[in-house]
Structure formats: C-alpha cells, structure tokens
C-alpha cells in the first residue's frame, strides 16, 4: 500500500520510532552490561561510574574455564616465560592454574555445568516436542473418549508451582536414585514441558486440513507415512515455535535444578550464582559465564526466527 502521509502522521511516526528506540535501549542495557563486563579487565569491572571505553580482554573467559587458586608467591620470570599464554593471563590476575598429578591443567566447574545444561535442555526439548506432537496429533485427528477432560488434565500438571512439588519430587527421586543424574533432570523437564507442548501442537495440527493426509491414505500410504510425509512438514512452524519455548524453559530452569542436582548433573543456572558466594567475587568471570549462558537461546531463536514469527502468532499471520 503506497500510503500518502500527512505532516502530522510523519511527526507521529518519528515519535513512535523514538519511543521504540528508547524502549529497546532500556531492554538491551543489561545485556550490554553483561557482555561488556565479560570482556573487561578485572579492575574496571566495578568502577563508579562504569567504564565504557576499555580494551577488551579474553582473560575472564580463560579464568572461567580453568580451575584456579590464589598465588602465594609470584612466579619466577622463567616460570612465567615457560607458561602458555592462557596461564600467563591467570598469573597476571594474581592466581595460578591448578594442575593434577600429571601436570595437566584442571578445568573449572563451568564447562561441565554448561555441557549438562545443553544435554538436559536439548534432550528434554526433543522428547517433549516429539511426544507432544504425537499426542497432539492423536487428539486432533481421532475421537478420544473424554478428550476435553484429558486435555484439561494434561494442562493441570502445569498449575502447581514448582516449589510445591519440589520437596516430594526430591524424596521420590532419592528413592529411585535419580537425584543428581542427567536422566532424572531430563525426565523432570520433559514432563514439565510436555503439557505445554501438547497444547501448542494441538493448536497447530488442528490448523492443518485433514484432507491432505486423507489424500495420502487414499494414494496408498499408511497413516504413519502420511504423518511423516505430509503432516510433519506442514507442522514445522509449530514445532519450531514449541521447541523454542520448551528449550528456553528447560535452559533457564532454576528451582528444580537447585534442589535435584549437586555436581554430576548440575546445570548452569544454579552453578553461576554459587560462584558469587566464595570470597571476593571476580565479576568479570561471572559475567563471562553469564554471557556464554545467553548464547544458546539467542542462537537457537535466531536460527528459527522465520518460523517463530508465524508460530508465535499462533496461526494469526499466515504465509
């Protein structure tokens, strides 16, 4: 539509753009802060007023990944010269890298926590979306006795706040030996996301005309083949949107992870704040950890953005 704009409309448009800019800046400020702090030298991290111009450093990330301890005595110049670049960065911060019996540098707790987060979030998302899609298809296409009651029941599992079920869950998990295991957390998140996934996917699948599958059935395909060849590609947008939601929820989950995990299966959300507690915190390292934690969701969402725009509007925008 080639709109002819009056002068007042142009002015209004400018005001609107300015307002959007301001809101965007307000929302992006904390992200900028975290990102900037993650690249700052330690002594600039907590200055008042905040330092805006600085030479970015990679040392917070190096420190994030390595197990360190306080230096009792300065390294000799020979030691310093013989050390690899990353160890020198640690020396510069007044710390040393902790090495095991064979002299290999030890990793900090962060990488394994990050890996745990990835494993748990990815696996539980795949399971919740997979099972949710199949369940939703069943509800959408077949006559299910008591369909409305079932759907309400499925949704009702999300109505209890996590804190209410956390303690009983903890006790049950202890009984089954699932505390602090990946499997335990994956089951929990899958169950948690499943109701959501069923509801979202049912909405999306209801939108797909059943004529498509029926044509495939008549054309000589089984119901399964019709589902995979016809329904699934049509539901891709919905699946992407549901997956992003489930992934974000699993990735950010804090309460259960705090209670159910300790070490082996601990995810990043309970781990990051636990760093703050010990001694004088190095904010640059914490910021680096937080910054990395932001990335997967950002990347995942960015990759699926085309699907999301349609998916998140729940079919309101078509094509």
């Amino acid at each position: 539509m080639a709109a002819v704009r009056t002068r007042s409309e142009v002015a209004l448009n400018r005001v609107a753009i300015a307002a959007v800019l301001i809101v965007t800046i307000i929302f992006l400020a904390p992200i900028y802060w975290i990102t900037a702090t993650a690249f700052k030298p330690r002594h600039l991290a907590t200055t008042v007023p905040p330092t805006v111009m600085f030479e970015p450093e990679i040392s917070p990330f190096v420190k994030l990944f390595l197990r360190r301890s306080q230096l009792r005595e300065q390294p000799t110049p020979e030691e310093y010269a013989a050390a690899p670049w990353w160890e020198r960065l640690v020396f510069d911060g007044g710390e040393k890298v902790v090495r095991d019996g064979r002299g290999n540098a030890q990793l900090s707790g962060y990488p394994s926590r990050f890996a745990n987060s990835l494993i748990v979030a990815v696996v539980s998302t795949v399971m919740a979306v997979g099972m949710g899609t199949l369940t939703a298809y069943g509800f959408s296409r077949f006559k299910v006795a008591g369909e409305q009651d079932w759907l309400f029941f499925i949704l009702s599992t999300r109505m209890l706040p996590p804190v209410v079920v956390a303690i009983p869950m903890f006790l049950m998990y202890r009984w089954f030996g699932l505390n602090d295991t990946h499997v335990g957390l994956i089951i929990l998140y899958t169950a948690f996301n499943l109701s959501f996934s069923v509801w979202l996917m049912k909405g999306f699948i209801d939108e797909i005309p059943r004529e498509y599958e029926e044509a495939a059935l008549v054309d000589g395909y089984t119901r399964m083949e019709a589902f995979f060849k016809i329904v699934l590609p049509e539901a891709a947008t919905g699946i992407a949107a549901t997956a992003v939601f489930c992934f974000i929820i699993a990735w950010n989950e804090y309460a259960f992870a705090l209670i159910m995990t300790r070490r082996t299966a601990q995810t990043a959300p309970p781990f990051i704040p636990s760093q703050v507690g010990s001694g004088l915190p190095d904010w640059t390292v914490i910021a680096a950890g937080t910054f990395l934690f932001l990335l997967p969701v950002a990347i995942f969402t960015f990759l699926l953005r085309n699907h999301l725009l349609r998916g998140m509007s729940f079919g309101a925008i078509r094509k």
């Binding site: 004529e211 029926e214 044509a215 054309d219 000589g220």
Partner: protein, 355 residues
C-alpha cells in the same frame, strides 16, 4: 476399472443420521453422479467408498468383494476434492509422482517419469510441472488434482465437487474435458455435485440424494422427464419444473390458483394432487384456456423464459425469443397434457411411478 455396490449403507455421526439405507450400484465404466443439496450426505457417501469413513451399517462392495474392512490404501480408489486437494510444499511433478511412489505400488522410476509426463500432456499441465502448487490458479490446481488421480489408473475415481470452486467458464470447459477423459479411459466415476447442470450434462446415471436418502436413480433424461417426487422435480432443470396444486375434475386439471387446463392422465376426481410440468411443455396461445399476467421476462438468446402470474400461482414457461411480450401484459397459456406429471399432494410422490 470396477463395479461398485453399496448395500443398505447407513451412517450416523453421534445420534445424527447422515445416510439412511443407501443402496447404490455403479457399473463398470459408468459416470455416476450423486446430486444433492448441502448436507445431503454426498461427501459422506464418497468417504465411505474411499474407506476414509466406516459405515454404521451396510456393506461396500468393489467388484463383488466386500471391502468393509479394507483401508483406504488397499481399495485402490482415487479422490479429487474441491479444495486442499494438492500437497502443499510439493511441486506439481512431486504431487503427480506421489501416488506412484507408494510402497504398495512399486512403480520403477522410469515408468513413473513416463506416466507423469503422459498425464501432464493429456491435461495440458506440462509447463507447470516444476512449479510449487501454491503458485497455481484454481483451475490449474484442479487439473493437477485430476492428474494425480489418473496417473495411478485406479479402480474407481471419486470426485467431490471438483469444479465448484472454479468460475463459470472454466467449470464448463473442465466439465467437457473431464467427461471426455472418462470416456477415453473407460473409467468408473463417482462424481458428487450440488449443481444439477453438471449432473445432467456429465452423468450416465444420476442418483438424487435428499437428507441422507437416495430418492431416485436414473439416466438424466429419465430423471428430467419423470421425477419420482416433487423434491427431484424441483432439483433438476433450470428453470425447475412448475408444480401446481389442484385436482382433477371431469377430465380437466383444475388448479387451486383458479384456472383449468386439459388433462390426459388417470386420476380419481377430486383427489388433491400436484401437477408437474416442465417450462418447455407450456406455451402461450391466444386461444388457450387459462389466463395470466406477464411478471418477468428473461431473454436467453435462443429462447425467453417468461414468468407468469395466474391467481396466486407463479408459472414459468419458455417461448421463442421472437415473441413480443411486455411486462404486465395479459396472456393466455396452456400445456401439453401428455407431459404432465402427477404427484400426490400430501406425500409429494409421483403417481406415475406406482406404489
């Protein structure tokens, strides 16, 4: 190709009956049209034949074999719908190939290619083969759907109002094309429509469906000349048959609207009946026994359709386009008494069809 038989088919959705005791036979190579108003149960019948819906009662036989327990894939039927009939995201070629790539058919690649190309040529869609289906016009889409049906050489073609979403001109062109195609293939067609023109012009046989009941089956001319009840009389023909309430008295047909016309049939005097007469079996004549006023004139080029008012009856008849008539002019009219169809007034059933 195949012979289809439906025996005493009933179908209810919940407590709501959609089909009631349907008996139907479609012969090998026949173009059978199922005609009915919206909600009559046309689509339901088609879906039962296709195996997409199970009848609540009754049997479906294909080539004499009871296929009640067969799935849609095994029945080897092809389905063309009014809309949503093509797979989105696929190109035209992929759509045409799709049925041939099914595991139960095992057609080899060279054969698939050959058949797709041949069908595309027949339907003049060769230039569209690599196009995505959402870039097609409505007419092109329906051609492709028809193509997807014929590429398989199924036992029977089931078509659910495949032309009704198209504009008039295209509909007419495709109608002829489809009929020719059917004759060339010698295929068995079950074609569903609510358009009586489509039914009359395409069908070898027509079945008229009314509220889930098959009320009459016959050739187009049988149904046209001899409707078995007033419902069929009203649904076939354009303009439809005139239906006038009245009774027979002393060899004359006396209409309740206050005029009498000659009568040739057999009916007991005084019995309340409905006289049915096709517009082309009525005529204007200065010496005719009944009088009416011209209410409306539609000029169709070859003929005029004149609407008359006689008492409180509305009568339509055709007359030569050369006849000069004016609105509100008083004219005299009559009918060909041989062509009058007599219906029982209360039941609407034709008295000619016997009890």
């Amino acid at each position: 190709m195949a012979h289809i038989e439906l025996r005493n088919i009933s179908k209810s959705f919940g407590s709501k009956p959609a089909l009631r005791g349907l008996d139907l036979e479609i012969e090998d190579g026949q173009f059978f049209v199922l005609l009915g108003e919206t909600g009559a149960g046309k689509t339901t019948t088609l879906r039962i034949v296709a195996g997409l819906e199970k009848p609540t009662e009754g049997d479906v036989l294909i080539d004499g074999e009871n296929v009640n327990e067969w799935g849609a894939a095994e029945r080897d039927v092809a389905l063309v719908l009014q809309q949503y009939s093509l797979y989105p995201r696929y190109t035209v070629r992929e759509n045409l190939e799709f049925p041939l790539k099914s595991k139960i058919r095992r057609v080899d690649a060279a054969d698939i290619e050959e058949r797709v190309n041949r069908v595309a040529k027949t339907l003049q869609i060769s230039h569209l083969l690599d196009r995505k289906t959402d870039r097609l016009s409505g007419g092109e889409m329906q051609r492709v759907s028809i193509g997807r049906a014929i590429v398989r050489q199924p036992r029977v073609f089931l078509m659910d109002e495949p032309l009704s979403a198209l504009d008039a001109k295209l509909r007419e062109a495709l109608r002829t094309e489809l009929k020719n195609l059917q004759m060339n293939l010698g295929a068995t067609f079950l074609f569903v429509t609510h358009d009586q023109v489509e039914a009359m012009s395409m069908g070898d046989k027509i079945g008229v469906l009314d509220k889930g009941k098959l009320v009459q089956v016959g050739t187009p001319s049988e149904i046209y000349a001899n409707p078995c009840n007033t419902f069929v009389a009203r649904s076939v023909g354009s303009p439809p048959m005139n239906l006038l309430n009245g009774s027979v008295s002393k060899g004359n047909a006396v209409a309740d609207a206050g005029f009498a016309l000659p009568f040739a049939g057999k009916a007991s005097d005084g019995q309340p009946v409905t006289f049915g007469i096709r517009p082309e079996d009525m005529f204007l004549d200065p010496g005719a026994p009944a009088e009416g006023a011209v209410h409306d004139i539609e000029n169709h080029g070859v003929a005029k359709i004149v609407t008359l008012r006689a008492g409180d009856a509305v009568i339509r008849l055709t007359t030569s386009a050369r006849d000069k008539l004016a609105i509100d002019e008083t004219v005299r009219f009559s009918w060909n008494p041989e062509k009058v169809v007599l219906f029982d007034k209360s039941s609407g059933l034709s008295l000619r069809h016997g009890p």
